[in-house]
Subunit: 119 residues, 2 copies
DNA sequence: AGACAATACATGCGTACGCATCTAATGCGC
DNA sequence: GCGCATTAGATGCGTACGCATGTATTGTCT
């Protein structure tokens, strides 16, 4: 059981570090940034609440708030007013965000398939 | 394959956060601190080089240097001169370190078995 | 309507990280 | 022995994190 945990730690560390290196060097994206874009593209929807994204990338609400701020500064998402609830924010992926994601996707998948046990 | 990666991320996040909460609240230890002590106790040896520990907990050399400094300040390990190579340091677990590890071990294992798939 | 808890997100603060660099000691070629 | 690359570990610096809190808005209870 500890064996399984250590294997999980090792796989996580190896894959995460490799993703960090490759994605950041080749596409100027961190693994979490990519993961957020990936989720948004995958789901097809175009509006997300901050907390919703936080859940699926396993980060705190505050971390997601800043992550979205970084993505916005990079022009990959926009933060739009939510008319029905003015406390909230809609996070929308931009076309530039889609393009960056599309460019990074092969790198992401390649790193994973190279490092994770293919079984 | 992405499925496997996401499951790995989810398990890692859940277990890591739970360990962080339980170990820190009940034993004043972080997951990495515990992992270092665990490795030292497990191997039976009493002298370790910093880099050696860095490898097995998947942290950078600088992170391990600081981690060892924290453990030393807490009295759980000692940094001893290495007579044959005066650049190096031997990291040695103290009896207090062994005691703290022994106290925390059940918590650590319990958290893991509660969260990781028992399969 | 008015007061008060609850929600959605932003932000101050402290901490741990990695990278690059520094210092000290070692080994290696000549 | 003398210089120079190499190695072990420490440290400055910038970044991202979580927790606690702040701010604005919404819902609820009376």
């Amino acid at each position: 059981m500890i064996i399984a945990w250590r294997r999980l730690l090792a796989q996580h560390a190896a894959a995460w570090c490799a993703l960090e290196r490759e994605l950041s060097e080749r596409h100027d994206l961190g693994p979490s940034e990519f993961e957020v874009l990936d989720r948004m593209v995958e789901a097809g929807r175009d509006k997300y609440r901050v907390q919703e994204l936080a859940d699926c990338v396993h980060l705190s609400q505050s971390a997601l708030s800043r992550l979205v701020a970084r993505l916005e500064k990079a022009g990959l998402v926009s933060r739009d007013m939510c008319p029905s609830d003015r406390r909230g924010v809609f996070v929308c992926i931009t076309s530039e965000g889609r393009a960056r994601h599309a460019a990074a996707l092969p790198t992401h998948r390649a790193v994973l398939s190279a490092i994770l046990p293919s079984a």
